[in-house]
Symmetry: C2
Subunit: 215 residues, 2 copies
DNA sequence: CGACGTTTGTGAACTCGTGCACGAGTGGCG
DNA sequence: CGCCACTCGTGCACGAGTTCACAAACGTCG
């Protein structure tokens, strides 16, 4: 009940950050406790799911009352490993890479962009939006010196697999891939993907099936 | 077989674009036919899943041979509604909105950015990366004139729900939300979300559980 | 033209996640 | 001090999606 032995389902893990965001809002409102129903509404799920999800973390609620917002937020941050910052490296200093380096949402939520790396010598040396640009060959050194454990791939699709291999070599075991291609990583490495156009294609499917005329 | 009342599972729909991308590669290589096993390898799934997924589209394969690449690609494009372009509007001309407007991956895959809209009068009137910037009040007119059916929300979280309401009013029923917040849309509207920091938080979870020291 | 190797299409078993329903605590109130 | 309203935690049934296994269909070759 209290600690380890329970494996948290992947679907639950994916929802924890959403709950955490809701809790952060509640904290700002100085709300002391919250019910599963209220939290469910804020997170866009149903109450039973919230309770089941939170029960994987432990019995942090109080029957008849709800959950203590501050305590729950702390426990959840701890479980998510968000009690300290995680510096990230962005690989690929092209359009997407620059945009991501400039996107404040990473730093604000505990993921400062510590470095940009690129394969092109021309881009190396300067700074982009305050982030130093290094050559990809320096990646192992950078990772070690800056304590980088998470990498973001923002290269063209054609370069993505090679980059993934370099990252594996550098000991980085958490990768977020923006390149529109499937890449393979060593066993034990976490890989998540974000494909912007793919999301639109999915929307296109439902749009087309709603309105067969297409317009 | 051809056009039945087959309801395609959501999980399958999400994989179709990945298959389509693989088929496009095969087309470039002038490959005429492909087996489920090969396609599975390219798409990063297993062969049984590929066959089941494709069977929802119809019986387009030939036993003992495989799938005709060109024919399958065409059928899949048709099913996904990708036989023509879908102009999209990006709401929010801030960092993220500008970056998305500049991201070539949308246009390249059939989703030209037809307009940017923003609530700030200051940004209205000019162009950003060749995309005209309009006021959000013009959205209904723009949607009608340009035939826009899909919108991308790239505003701060605080504005997202209000934007969603405006979009609903303008008759747009496909939304891709980049704002890190839960928004609600009318029944019958498709909503997908991309939360960049959330993905990193998920990675953080697994990273932290792999290496409890945290470094 | 029939046997054989290949690959699809799909029923069926299985896994994983969801939602319901309800027992078990908790605090408040008379 | 006992009852009551409230809310959590969880066993259970259900459903969606995945994987397996195999028969059916196809091309080839002797």
């Amino acid at each position: 009940m209290s600690d380890r032995s329970r494996r948290i389902p992947e679907a639950t893990v994916a929802r924890l950050p959403v709950y955490l965001r809701s809790l952060a809002e509640l904290l700002e409102d100085k709300t002391a406790t919250v019910s599963s129903e209220r939290l469910a509404e804020m997170a866009g799920v149903n109450a039973a799911k919230v309770r089941k999800d939170l029960s994987y973390l432990g019995s942090y609620g109080t029957r008849g009352v709800g959950y203590d917002v501050e305590y729950l937020a702390f426990q959840m941050s701890r479980e998510l490993g968000l009690t300290h910052d995680w510096p990230v490296v962005i690989v690929g200093a092209g359009n997407l890479g620059q945009a991501l380096a400039n996107y404040g949402g990473f730093r604000d939520r505990g993921f400062p962009v510590a470095a940009l790396v690129d394969a092109s010598r021309e881009k190396v040396g300067g700074e982009i939006h305050g982030v130093p640009v290094h050559h990809i060959d320096d990646l192992p050194r950078l990772a070690a010196e800056l304590g980088i454990a998470i990498a973001v791939i923002a290269t063209p699709a054609s370069a993505a697999q090679a980059v993934a291999d370099v990252l594996a070599e550098a000991g980085i075991r958490s990768i977020l891939n923006f390149a529109p291609t499937v890449i393979s990583v060593p066993e034990g490495t976490s890989l998540r993907k974000v494909d912007l156009a793919l999301e639109l294609q999915i929307l296109s499917f439902y749009q087309a099936h709603r309105d067969p005329s297409g317009a």
